[in-house]
């Protein structure tokens, strides 16, 4: 308690009394390897810009958002802030981020970005985030488990129906103890979003309304209920161990041969699973259904509206996404570089594991559709509701039909509250 108070007052001092003209503060979420890469880029930036000092801090995803919100509320926000697609609307609309479009193209030279990815960092027409890399949702597959069971891995044409049969066969083959075909993805928002997009719907409209119906959700829950019955996916109590981290995934824990993730996490999964893994797209509803996927900015750098060194902060962000030496250090760890020139720099030096997500995102073809608008305020709660209701179906407390209606009702109520 007392220690925390001392730290707080010290950092407050650091920001007022001893603030320097050219002192940049950064904050990001991620693991130690990401911190090492980020710090190396900062050192490089300092070497090329004399008189600038940079201090960075990083936290895990779950601790990051309370910390950032507290700093912003305390008028103590870092200058450069790593931002997520989910939160950019919340922070931008509440005036916490600086609009950056006026720095283009003089300081912010991101003209060789894919226009759709620049668009992804805009809220209400202003640029609030510069994408640090692209990724897409993907199925992660344990190829060795498929080999052992003598079953072919899913292709990019595999449908949900076929996937259900494949899953049940893997479970039935029983080559590993307590092993199932795939993880229960009924509560996973990216997977559900992909499903409704293939049906020509979306999660949310651009004006913050719900964009799918109770029947879409009911059929989704019903499909998963059948997978559960056929033992194609893991049991609900095993699935409930999953806490949105790589180390709690049923795939990592040796419970299932497939799980659902984002392509930039592939390197992380492969580091934790001994068997050789691969990436494939999410399943199709019909062999010819398209457009479920999209290339998504994996994360942004935003600049705090409270920053007193906005110019330097923008210079740093530009250096981060456009300097070839920085690109070599950063690799594809934050996603595939958005700048065409940097992508070429990075592609030349990737190892086999690093190439898989790069090739996967490049090869999506007709599976990829347009980027949906940034999720509205309350989307974070919507994600929790999807997970809770999917668990209620899985544990047999609610029927799939009722669950579909309940999901739409609750999300509508959350969006109305704002």
């Amino acid at each position: 308690m007392a220690g925390g108070a001392t730290l707080l007052s010290l950092s407050a001092l650091g920001n007022s009394a001893f603030a320097q003209e050219n002192r940049l503060r950064l904050i990001w979420w991620g693991s130690q390897p990401r911190a090492d890469r980020t710090n190396k880029v900062s050192d490089l930036f300092k070497a090329k810009n004399s008189g600038v000092s940079i201090t960075g801090e990083f936290l895990g995803w779950a601790d990051y958002w309370p910390r950032l919100a507290t700093q912003v509320a305390g008028r103590n926000a870092p200058d450069v802030i790593q931002m997520d697609y989910r939160y950019i609307v919340e922070y931008a609309r509440r005036g916490a981020l600086a609009p950056l479009e006026s720095y283009m193209p003089s300081k912010l030279q991101i003209d060789d970005f894919d226009p759709a990815q620049i668009e992804g960092g805009k809220v209400d027409g202003h640029l609030y985030g510069v994408s640090l890399g692209a990724n897409s949702a993907a199925t992660v597959i344990n190829t060795v488990a498929f080999q052992e069971a003598g079953i072919d891995v899913p292709t990019n044409k595999t449908t949900w129906e076929e996937f259900g049969k494949i899953g049940a066969e893997i479970t039935k083959a029983g080559k590993r103890k307590g092993y199932f075909g795939f993880a229960d993805g009924s509560g996973g928002e990216p997977l559900f979003e992909n499903y409704v997009r293939q049906r020509g719907k979306a999660l949310y409209t651009a004006d913050s309304k719900i964009a799918f119906g109770a029947d879409d959700a009911a059929e989704w829950f019903d499909m998963w209920a059948k997978f559960r019955e056929a033992k194609a996916c893991v049991t609900p109590d095993i699935q409930a161990l999953y806490k949105d981290t790589i180390d709690t995934s049923p795939l990592t824990l040796g419970k299932a041969a497939c799980d659902y993730a984002h392509s930039n996490q592939f390197v992380g999964y492969q580091a934790m699973v001994k068997d050789k893994l691969m990436l494939s797209n999410y399943l199709r509803i019909k062999p010819d259904s398209k457009g479920g996927h999209y290339r998504k900015p994996s994360m942004f750098f935003s600049v705090s509206a409270q920053s007193k060194v906005i110019d330097q902060a923008v210079d740093y962000v530009n250096f981060f996404v456009k300097n070839p030496d920085a690109a070599k250090i950063l690799d594809v760890e934050r996603g595939i570089p958005e700048s065409k020139a940097m992508r070429e720099v990075v592609a030349g030096k990737l190892d086999e594991t690093g190439k898989i997500p790069l090739e996967y995102v490049a090869g999506l073809g007709d599976l990829a559709g347009p980027l949906p608008p940034p999720p509205p305020t309350g989307a974070g709660e919507g994600q929790v509701v999807l997970r809770t209701i999917s668990e209620q179906v899985a544990f047999g407390q609610v029927t799939p039909a009722d669950a579909g209606k309940q999901l739409v009702d609750e999300i509508t109520r959350i969006l109305a509250r704002g």
Binding site: M1, A2, A5, A62, W65, P66, A69, T70, V72, A73, E90, Y91, R94, G95, A96, G178, T235, P236, D237, I238, Q239, A240, L241, K243, D244, T245, T248, G378, G380, E381, V384, R387, T388, E391, Q392, F395, Q397
Partner: protein
């Protein structure tokens, strides 16, 4: 040295006491107690600056729509009205917390008392045992605990391995909505260190001659416990019960750590404090969360007042 100081201070006080009669009581009291307040100063600064101040600010915020990023706007009692009328999660979180309090406090106190009784029989190396039994309490809520509990209570954990010996196939206790709360109760009981230390101190206070007299009269060990130990220990039991009940209401870390902050599955481990935390920091509703916090304060106060009112019927202060 000490004597001299005391004498001179005493003299000064007496002189002033006689000299400033007209100045009233406040000055007199201040003169007498100034050194005391001086010594209290660090604590007072902390209390007003870090406890009372923020608490009053949160009372103000509970009547606003504060979202941490924009200036708070006054909304009157709207937050309280919503909690009372339109928040099903409030009721569910309250019922999870009440279940936790009702189960964990009695089990933990019983267990702590049993261990204290066992340790009170003049064992050799008592300090070592005491330290070992206290260890789990020191671990508190850490990631290590989350991992340990998963090793114990997950589908292929130690508990199920033991049950398998009897042919029982157990579920993943920790992530099943019907059982997950009990794994948190087990965690609480396991961290029995601090009430145990207090019980042990209480047991040491009971005069040995009472037991000697009782055994001369032929009272059995059980009767001695029931007629001597328990009644004389009631002040300590009362103290432990009140402290542990307040702690259990405020419990946050076990659920946060073990459910990964979700309170799942199906909100079965969504403690009241965890819900409050999610509202404040996950959904940016600091005003609403402040209202939730003040309701918890009132509930804890009611429980504590109730304990004190009933205490005169069962707590014996035998001086």
């Amino acid at each position: 040295m000490t004597n001299a100081m005391r004498t001179s201070a005493g003299t000064v006080t007496v002189e002033r006491y006689q000299g400033v009669k007209a100045d009233g009581r406040f000055r007199r009291l201040w003169n007498a107690n100034a050194p005391g307040y001086l010594f209290l100063l660090p604590w007072l600064v902390g209390f007003f600056g870090l406890t009372l101040g923020p608490a009053l600010i949160s009372l103000y915020l509970s009547f606003t729509d504060f979202d941490m990023l924009r200036a708070p706007g006054w909304v009157g009692a709207a937050n309280y009205v919503r909690i009372a009328t339109a928040d099903p999660k409030f009721a569910s979180a309250m019922s999870v917390t009440l279940t936790y309090v009702v189960l964990s406090v009695p089990f933990k106190l019983t267990f702590a008392l049993l261990v204290a009784l066992a340790l009170n029989r003049g064992l050799r190396g008592l300090p070592i045992y005491r330290a070992i039994f206290y260890l789990p309490s020191l671990l508190g809520g850490s990631v290590a605990i989350a991992v340990l509990w998963r090793q114990l209570f997950a589908s292929d954990g130690l508990v199920n391995a033991a049950l398998a010996q009897f042919g029982i196939v157990g579920p993943s206790w920790i992530s099943h909505p019907s059982y997950s709360i009990y794994t948190l109760v087990a965690l609480s009981v396991w961290q029995f260190g601090s009430p145990m230390i207090i019980f042990l101190a209480g047991l040491r206070q009971i005069p040995q001659d009472m037991y000697e007299a009782a055994s001369l009269d032929g009272a059995s060990k059980f009767r001695q416990f029931y007629k001597i130990t328990l009644p004389l220990l009631t002040p300590v039991i009362f103290f432990n019960a009140v402290v542990q009940t307040i702690d259990a209401f405020k419990a946050f870390t076990p659920a946060f750590i073990i459910s990964g902050g979700t309170g799942g599955p199906i909100n079965s481990t969504l403690f009241y404090t965890l819900y409050l935390y999610q509202e404040a920091f996950g959904n940016f509703r600091m005003g609403y969360a402040s209202a939730l916090a003040w309701i918890l304060v009132v509930i804890i106060a009611i429980f504590t007042a109730f304990s004190f009112l009933t205490s005169r019927y069962w707590v014996h202060y035998d001086d």
